[in-house]
Symmetry: C2
Subunit: 305 residues, 2 copies
């Protein structure tokens, strides 16, 4: 197999690269922690060229990039594209990075400029492109994470999206707040833990109760009424449940009750379980497969064979 | 005026002392940042004796203390007293600190051991004692802060209370999250700022929408739709509104629609405005006056003249 392009997901904390053949199959891949937060603008080219030579990529292999590398603090800014965003919108707004060797393009993020719910994404638009190309023409996508994105697709276009800071809130509360002394194994919550399930149910049914429920994660272990592992599960359930309570009424397509969950590993299991508890039917797609499909599609648009 | 006791509020970050005459009037006062978080158990006595000599207190003046100095990580643990807590409960559960010179007592916190809503307080119980002694026999008290406390009083006793982490969430989000780069003047929010008012109204009416509304504090300035000062006001309004949405249905005495707000300064103004927007009548008491009254009352119980 011969590589026809390099596809790169360059986020805040993580760098991933795949070289792809003419049908989009993986020729070689690497990942590292050389994300935007560790780099200055002048560092990007060397990081890319080093890994290219490591995986034996040709010196003129074109490279397509999505993610924070295209932010104002990244390698080169790729300004946000506006809604509604059709599949062609994203590749069409790619910017070219000056380089003596290869053709390097960075895909834009998306901006929702509605003053009543302004929002932005960068990186997820490429993954969503992969989802729509997989055949999804209509419905709601949930991309859980540090900043979860909920996306409405109408006739193959992104028409609306909303970010919730669930992953970041969980990290702040479990590691940097007064709760942190009590919480144990915050990264190992089991989706079948009764405290996770109870937390999701409470937050979905009574979202207004979450603000006062959080502190029980400190009080209950202090009074020997629960363990730190219990409280990690409860906190995770409350925050994911609050996300669902906010997003499902806003974005759920009542006709199908189906959510397309795009995720991986333990996080995918937590959201799958929580969405089921909220009465939804869940279809899960692998997030790596989707971002690679989106990058490959943009590459084919930019560099027709 | 001659001092009959020293009254001390010894919290996590702040130390305050008043010497009081036989009627509870202030003879001398001091405050410093020598809170629990800066001290080891062996440090407390020297800190207290230094300030006692600074303000010319007699070597045998008794001292009554409330707050985190009585926690397991403080000077000497004063175990939590249980609910319902009558005014006599708190003084009755004071612990004595061994000292060669003066009589030093630390007041206990309160624990709510209900497994469905476990909660604890330490320091606020003394302030609440001051409020009930001021004549409040029935109703709801709101003590805003890092960890806001909402307290139900029935026949002069604390029967129920709930903590919300509003102040800590605001500090984490405005200073340590991805929102922090966008937010300006987080400590100077004006209670008449339209974004504060709109945030309170949104959260009270639609608490489930808060999780996704938080991220607009990043997206709106990024898209030049709002300023960092606007977003500080909005974030403050959303979080205080979420606190009210959770607490008012749970604790509000429908017969009066009155909340006793115990606070001071800018925070008192924000909560007074927010409670008014939520349709409540607010009576405000000064938190320093109340904690001093509670300490003096406990002193009179322990050391009858």
């Amino acid at each position: 197999m011969q590589a026809t392009c390099a596809a790169i997901d360059w986020g805040t904390t993580r760098f991933r690269i795949w070289t792809l053949d003419r049908r989009g199959a993986v020729v070689a891949e690497r990942q590292s922690d050389r994300g935007m937060s560790t780099l200055k603008p002048a560092d990007y080219e060397a990081v890319l060229e080093n890994v290219m030579s490591e995986i034996g990529a040709a010196a003129d292999l074109p490279a397509i990039i999505c993610g924070m590398a295209g932010s104002a603090q990244g390698w080169k800014e790729a300004p946000y594209a506006d809604l509604p965003a059709l599949p062609g919108t994203i590749a069409g707004a790619a910017v070219r990075v000056p380089s003596d060797s290869r053709d390097i393009r960075i895909l834009p993020g998306l901006a929702q400029r509605d003053p009543s719910c302004p929002d932005v994404m960068r990186g997820e638009e490429t993954l969503i492109l992969g989802v729509t190309l997989s055949g999804m023409n209509q419905g709601t996508i949930c991309l859980p994470g540090t900043h979860s994105k909920w996306v409405r697709i109408v006739q193959g276009a992104v028409t609306e999206f909303h970010t919730t800071m669930t992953g970041e809130l969980y990290a702040l509360l479990s590691r940097q707040s007064t709760l942190s002394h009590m919480i144990k194994d915050a990264d190992a919550v089991d989706c079948e833990h009764p405290c996770f399930i109870e937390g999701v149910r409470q937050a979905v049914a009574r979202p207004h109760s979450v603000a006062s429920a959080l502190f029980s994660a400190r009080a209950a272990p202090l009074l020997h009424l629960a363990t730190g592992e219990d409280m990690a599960a409860r906190l995770s359930g409350l925050l994911i449940g609050l996300e669902l309570a906010g997003m499902l009424p806003q974005l759920n397509d009542k006709k199908t009750d189906e959510i397309t969950l795009v995720s991986q590993g333990p996080l995918a299991r937590l959201y799958d379980r929580a969405l089921g508890l909220a009465g939804m039917n869940v279809r899960t797609l692998d997030s790596d497969d989707m971002v690679r499909a989106g990058l490959f599609s943009a590459a084919k648009t930019l560099w027709p064979l």
